[in-house]
Symmetry: C2
DNA sequence: AACTATACGGAACATCGTTCCGTTTATCAC
DNA sequence: GTGATAAACGGAACGATGTTCCGTATAGTT
């Protein structure tokens, strides 16, 4: 076995069938997660992709790796949306619009929020991954709002993202519009700074 | 076999060992749920109670039956707390105090909120059971607050309970005090009626 | 065309929820 | 006490699922 001395390039590039399968697995997992939730059986994902479960585990040793890979693509869109909104609207307005954007993201990923907050160690890397992508952008909106007095200054971006994700996660049986109503209420609390009320 | 004609009384009363075991199972399940979450293995619960899994399933045919039985005892305390607070405080204050009470209830039952909102049909009876016990009491506080103008009138008790339960559910890795901070923010939104902000 | 590293598929294993049934035992009648 | 009987018991058995493992197939190279 030769040691690749970080030279010109690896001897062999990734096999073409492996690349096709990797893409097929991502697509299959995306649809399976959407229909069955993030606990969709691995055999089911393999069947949709036309591969055996061994192939999935070779590329994604842990289930959380697969979940991260599937959602990361769309996550970036939601993250950059925050920057677009921050540039086009005043902070309080940008916050509401972005919350709606995050809500749509979560709504299309049944069980995603549950996994994000699961006590299961398998999902431990998830919160860091997602908060890392979203929190800095949101924090800039919050800082801008604190500066102009339209957003209370004692709310942390990470807290708010987790809260929004929890409230946005809808389930069968939920009253129609519950998620939207409660997010509106939460944001009403965020956009009025009244620190003295925190003393219970 | 004689047919008991709904006469004086049942011939035999419940066996003493059965009663002991029922109680032991409830205690074992309570501790197992607290330590391992509501997905604690049935074999584990059986081992803690010193009984076989068959004994558990005879008394609680579905897992959700056991969960309901375990939590109902403490649920009543939280429900009646609402009445006590409503009588002793003005509505807005009663609401905050009761939210804290609900938070303590949820905090001691890891995964309880997840089960309450799970898509799993096995947990389908749970939301009805718990909302049924809590919502009417909370609704009276909300109505009183709407009447004296301290609580916005467009918030439903059921929505609010679900929102509080979701926000209160803490997980390892959560920032310290996150739950309390976000609940405060939500209640800030509830205790100020500003319907025009709902138009995004 | 032959060779070999790479990737594949699915059997195998472990865990868990749930069902089933042969065995044990508390209670009752005497 | 003693025996009969229904109630209750425990854990094996079954099916589903996550994950690992390894003999086989094959893409890319020579």
């Amino acid at each position: 076995m030769t040691v690749p001395v970080e030279g010109p390039a690896p001897q062999r590039r990734k096999r073409a069938d492996a690349m096709r399968n990797t893409e097929a697995v991502l697509e299959a997992a995306k649809s399976a997660f959407a229909e069955l939730g993030v606990d969709a059986p691995m055999r089911e994902i393999g069947a949709r992709a036309g591969v055996g479960v061994g192939t999935i585990y070779r590329n994604y040793p842990r289930r959380s790796d697969l979940i991260i890979a599937v959602f990361r693509r769309e996550l970036d869109a939601t993250a950059s949306e925050a920057e677009r909104l921050a540039a086009a609207h005043p902070p309080a307005k940008a916050l509401r619009l972005w919350a709606a954007s995050l809500g749509r993201f979560v709504a299309t990923k049944r069980g995603f929020a549950s996994a994000l907050h699961s006590g299961d160690p398998a999902y431990a890397p998830l919160p860091g991954q997602f908060l890392g992508a979203l929190a800095p952008r949101l924090q800039r909106i919050l800082d801008a709002g604190a500066a102009d007095g339209t957003i209370r200054p004692d709310v942390r971006a990470e807290d708010l993202i987790q809260a929004l994700a929890r409230l946005a996660d809808d389930h069968p049986g939920d009253a129609d519009g519950r998620a939207g109503r409660m997010i509106d209420v939460l944001l009403d609390g965020v956009t009025v700074a009244r620190p003295e009320s925190r003393s219970l």
